[in-house]
Amino acid sequence: MFGHPNRGPAGHVVITSPSGGTAERETRRCAHCGKHWLQVPGSGRQRGLCLRCHGLTCGAKPCDPCLPYEVRIEIEEGRRSGTVAAYLDTYRAVFGALPG
């Protein structure tokens, strides 16, 4: 399920309003934390693009280092050794702290 390109839509939203209108939007998913957000062109919200795993990120600071969602889940499940924090520390030690 994680093999899909992570830049296309990851979900669709339909909101039915009482006035009779129906709004439809696409959601994108953060390649690092798995969060979905509504795709609103021109909203001004800054998102990210990970140049390591080539996935979109939600723009939150903790999602700047590359920790793919699948790896994060496996760490939380105990299928990989260590912790998420330790993984991110290692990442920063190897690639350096990200600016900002």
């Binding site: 994680f2 899909h4 839509p9 990851a10 339909v14 039915t16 009482p18 969060k35 889940i73």
Partner: protein, 149 residues
């Protein structure tokens, strides 16, 4: 082949109140949520609410809700749904997987593209649920979740 299940529950809205959660009771398998519907069956009113889909590590005590197999031939679901209100939950901070602001008169539906499902980790007592983060009133919120195992 994945087995698909559905569950519905209704709970009054409030502040940081979980409406419905899907709990993984063991470590054998993950769950993948692919469809979420949030609506309200109360008398229509212009009240705003915010709902998040969040994760947690301790499911706490809620009201047991029966999962329905979409294919009647499927065995009982592994994932255990529970409805609000809850005591003793542990929620993961900053873990919103989906967030929506919604007028009480509106109905919201989110459907995952294949591969975009919300993952319930294969860790005992981990859960993913719909939370009423804040609301202008306390209307009944109807929630539906579909997932596969």
């Amino acid at each position: 082949m994945a087995r698909n299940y559905a569950v519905t529950h209704e709970t009054a809205a409030g502040t940081t109140l979980t409406i419905l959660e899907l709990v993984n009771p063991g470590t054998a398998a993950r769950g993948w949520i692919y469809d979420i519907i949030i609506g309200c069956d109360a008398t229509p009113a212009d009240l705003a609410g915010q709902f998040d889909v969040i994760r947690g590590t301790v499911s706490g005590t809620g009201t047991g809700v029966t999962a329905r197999a979409l294919d009647p031939a499927n065995p009982a679901a592994t994932i255990a749904p529970e409805g609000g209100t809850f005591t003793g939950q542990t929620k993961t901070a900053n873990s919103a997987l989906l967030s929506v602001g919604l007028n009480q008169r509106a109905t919201f539906r989110w459907v995952a593209v294949p591969g975009g499902e919300l993952v319930i980790p294969g860790t005992s007592d981990n859960w993913v649920g719909i939370e009423s983060v804040a609301h202008g009133g306390t209307p009944n919120i109807n929630a539906t979740m579909h997932w596969s195992e």
